[in-house]
């Protein structure tokens, strides 16, 4: 079984400032790692994923995340945010042998970008 902890429920940030969203996970097996974004009244959109290889993963909209196996973390970063980045962000894991690779999500981090 897996669990995901997103350490910040809300992150206010000024436009053009950097942002980091923290994610830690727990798992008894090897995992794949994901970040999703959810805009109001919409479904989830994949930002990026770590499957294997380089621990620094680049995604859409200028986001990147780094997998740290020893710290069981997968923090999401963006060097300069825009108003349009206001949304809720979810970290998720999937056990490598899970049927269909079902996802276990964290509780989410709400990002509010202020002008």
């Amino acid at each position: 079984a897996q669990s995901v902890t997103q350490l910040d429920s809300q992150v206010p940030v000024f436009e053009e400032a950097p942002v980091e969203l923290r994610c830690n996970y727990s798992s008894s097996v090897s995992v794949y790692l994901f970040w999703y974004v959810q805009y109001p009244n919409q479904g989830l959109q994949l930002l990026l994923k770590y499957l294997s290889g380089s621990t620094l993963v680049k995604g859409i909209n200028g986001f990147e995340a780094e997998f740290n196996k020893s710290q069981t973390s997968f923090h999401l970063r963006k060097p300069s945010v825009h108003i349009s980045d206001t949304a809720e962000y979810f970290c998720a894991v999937s056990g490598k042998r899970a049927a269909g690779n079902k996802l276990t999500f964290g509780g989410g981090t709400r990002v509010l970008v202020k002008p």
């Binding site: 794949y32 479904g43 999937s94 269909g100 079902k102 276990t104």
Partner: protein
């Protein structure tokens, strides 16, 4: 269609009423998932289909919840005798093949039980 379509978009049910939520996955997608997202929380896994076979239903919270995908395309999530704690957004996701992370999510059905 171009994306995963869910209907209805909103559903208000009286406590004790039965409801049926529909998911139209992307044509040809083999894998289909249902998730439940309570207010202010992350989505939680309910059940998984590969074609018409329901391979994992470990997340269904009670025997009032039932899902089917009889022809391997459209799926229906049925909730019998709805209760207030069933109020949530129900998300459907589909994928072309079994594999990590390649899912497309629908916009969800918001169920409110009054």
């Amino acid at each position: 269609g171009a994306g995963v379509s869910q209907s209805p978009r909103y559903k208000v049910a009286k406590r004790g009423q039965d409801v049926a939520l529909r998911c139209d996955p992307i044509s040809g997608h083999v894998s289909l998932f249902w998730y439940q997202q309570a207010l202010g929380q992350g989505p939680e896994f309910l059940t998984y289909f590969q074609n018409e076979a329901q391979l994992d239903k470990s997340g269904l919270p009670s025997d009032r919840f039932f899902a089917e995908r009889p022809e391997g395309s459209v799926s229906t999530l049925k909730i019998q005798r709805t209760q207030q704690e069933d109020s949530a957004v129900y998300l459907c996701a589909s994928s072309l093949q079994e594999g990590p992370g390649g899912y497309t999510f629908g916009s969800g059905t918001r169920l409110t039980v009054v």
